[in-house]
Symmetry: C3
Subunit: 345 residues, 3 copies
């Protein structure tokens, strides 16, 4: 994939603070996978499983670890963290493009909103009273920015993001299309045969450098705020319920749901399709495997799992039948043990 | 959290039909949690686990049960249902704010739509031909109201709700942003190596006092309608497939999916991340635990579960290995029993 | 349900290439279920379980298999594939309605977009530079069509679809409201205590005759493209991560998530609420049961499952306790076997 910019390998090495081997004047114009790269592109090797592919890549240069250096004659960037180095290189070759500052003629801006002249407000966006939009912010087409929302410097909202009243986003936070932040938490009380709505009067506070994937939802707090700390990365179609707190630099993969008032620590890694029940606390540094369920607090870092891989359907039916039969099998083992004890006497 | 209104404790007691203890002239200006409340705010105690926190709350008054009365000297509202009472109090202190009636200049209204002069249509909303919008309805910014949609009195659509043609919503129903109601059900027939689309010609009928969470989807019926009865509360990111019927006052938590033609009874409580297969019937008063799967009809009220809590990964791998080995273990138990029988003879 | 058109049974038989029995001049004006049909409507029988209902249907005609012919005196369409025949009949009686070509006055079109005069662009849609929109395309109200997007002939976007830059859709592909295609994949690298964003420079290519359900998300590729092949049908609230490839005519039910770089074969049937981990390959013709997890590649067609049906909660707790106890039970079986061996010697 051809980038928007061109660098020499030496310049990239300097930017990333890594070693270069081979001609530092090699021109790098894009990025590619080991298999798909075209001449002029740089590729990377993180997983030794793919080392064999190095032999026939058409890439012009490779980012890799010292121990993989001998596997290729191509010019290289040598680093302990090829993935991180690749991220920096790709950021340079494909710099983020921000629209020009200014307010599109079709956007609807409340007279009591305050918008930096260095912000960009897209077509058909709606900005409500009391919103505060800082320098460098982008509100994509059709974005909805509710009353008293604060978007800090360089926040980027892709088209069709919805922010309810009072929500705040920290600097450089990036929100993808279809995201809804600040909708009412799922709070109600049962009284006289029906549910009474409990007004959700807290808000949502989101830190700096957060990224939120498409169609993810984050509910406002019942009384106090829902909080997403700095550097958190949320994938698509995630549900964060009211009064959750997600710790700094935690990543959560798609389709995961976190119930109300749960607190996830910092630098956790939560897989996709995970469920976390309400009112639990998960300490820093926990990994939850995809498709697993967390039902109580976790106080030790580590990996936690309850996911079951599929089997051919017929085998699975047997496993299930035995699972259902476990109480009976246990009873039969007990009887065998009793018989043995009697026999031994 | 400071409210928009102020009441005396005595007024709140009267509104809620509960007893007051302590000075009925105490001014209540907001709500707070036991831990976070500020002076002037009222808090509540439902779970006796938190009774110890009563001692050092900074709240000015508390809603609690008679049996918890002795745990505090603060003025109190005494009730069997503190949660319900709190809901009423919070509704009074934070009354729902509705925009002024009128049609925003940027909304696009088909000339054959009928809109009450007491309704409010937000910026950039689109209302199609034949839509019927009653008194007190709010269509938020960017809402899409398809042909022949009927929005009954006081329906509230937050920004960016999409209602396909023919959908009807009952009085006071509240729909959050990103919701899509009436998209085609997932209906197709396999013929000659490809899928033929089956036109989805039913619609969606939603009762009174329903609430629908952000980015939830409810599909239109294949032939007859999909039906959500009155008082149902749906959380975020729920999928309701074509021709489902959800009974009155049932609540469903986030990320749950219900397959086509299933019928859920009244006053059920369906947890988050639940799956319900198609064409089943669940009777009234059933609770499904979060992350569980329902594969057949349920005819008895009660709680149903298939969720497995996580273990440390290494332990879980052992459990899984044993689970896979169950058929073999069963065989070994049988052999032991046979040996014992032979031995006894 | 009354259709928009009327046909004789004979005309429908000819269109579908099936046999008619009974009066071919019978007028058919709509469709109904066996139970709910009104006179003038045609119904169908696929499942022999419902054969008894044939006796008291009020329908005017029935689509069924030869072997069910004797169960009714009504005029019939006889076919091996009643479901497919019903699809064709319903398509005739309820022809898709497309809006008139033309660009709505409130749509915002970049001067460098190329839009066929035979396309229809709805109210408040936004079309960016370099977009290419072919004949017969419909962009619903509030749709967002990013830079360089290509919409091939007769693509239909319901209201509020978001297509990021560079996405391409094949002919006749139909996309429901709230869908987001081309948002950034979930790619980042850990470096010095924080996550670096990896620019997602691939795109999304979607084939012909694809249908995508409401609020589904399909991420753009990290380097190469995410690909959805022709005839794929995706239900609502599905997450397709970056660099996935979904083979032709595969169907995926709602709430399923597919992690990055996985490849699903052609003509697969993936149930609802399924999880598929990253970097696996699933061959053609695989069925994955709803609520199951795929953790490794599948090379044989067939049905794969790991879903556990719910039990009454109390029974389930017993099953769970025994599941947790499996390592201990295994140990006890081993001890019994040892004792027996010793005894036999």
């Amino acid at each position: 994939m051809r980038g928007q910019c061109t660098y020499t390998l030496g310049e990239l090495a300097r930017i990333c603070g890594v070693e270069v081997e081979g001609d530092p004047c090699t021109l790098i114009e894009g990025v590619g996978t080991l298999e798909g790269a075209e001449p002029g592109e740089i590729t990377f090797l993180t997983n030794p499983l793919y080392r064999a592919q190095l032999g026939h890549t058409r890439a012009t240069a490779v980012i890799l670890k010292k121990q993989d250096r001998e596997a290729t004659d191509l010019p290289c960037l040598i680093t302990d963290n090829p993935h991180g180095c690749y991220a920096r290189v790709a950021q340079k070759l494909f710099p983020e493009v921000r629209p020009q500052p200014g307010i599109h003629g079709t956007a609807e801006i409340h007279p009591e909103a305050r918008i930096s002249p260095l912000a960009s407000i897209g077509a058909q966006a709606v900005i409500e009273a009391g919103a505060l939009i800082d320098d460098g912010v982008v509100v994509g087409a059709g974005g909805y920015v509710g009353e008293r929302v604060h978007l800090a410097q360089d926040v980027f909202l892709y088209p069709r993001v919805t922010l309810y009243a009072g929500v705040t986003l920290g600097p450089r936070t990036l929100v993808h299309s279809g995201v809804v932040i600040g909708a009412d938490g799922f709070g109600m009380a049962w009284q006289e045969g029906r549910w009474l709505k409990i007004p959700q009067v807290g808000s949502v506070r989101i830190g700096a450098d957060v990224e939120i994937g498409a169609n993810t939802t984050i509910d406002r707090g019942a009384i106090e705020d829902t909080v997403i700390e700095e550097g958190v990365k949320l994938d698509n179609l995630i549900q964060i319920a009211h009064n959750c707190r997600i710790g700094a630099h935690t990543v959560i993969a798609g389709c995961t749901g976190i119930s109300g008032s749960s607190r996830i620590g910092a630098r956790c890694r939560i897989g996709g399709g995970v469920g976390i029940v309400g009112h639990v606390e998960i300490c820093d540094g926990v990994t939850v495997s995809g498709f697993s369920l967390i039902t109580k607090s976790i106080t030790q870092p580590g990996v936690y799992t309850s996911a079951i891989p599929s089997q051919p359907h017929r085998e699975w039916l047997h496993t299930l039948a035995h699972l259902r039969g476990l109480p009976e099998w246990a009873e039969r083992i007990r009887r065998l043990e009793m018989a043995q004890v009697q026999h031994d006497h």
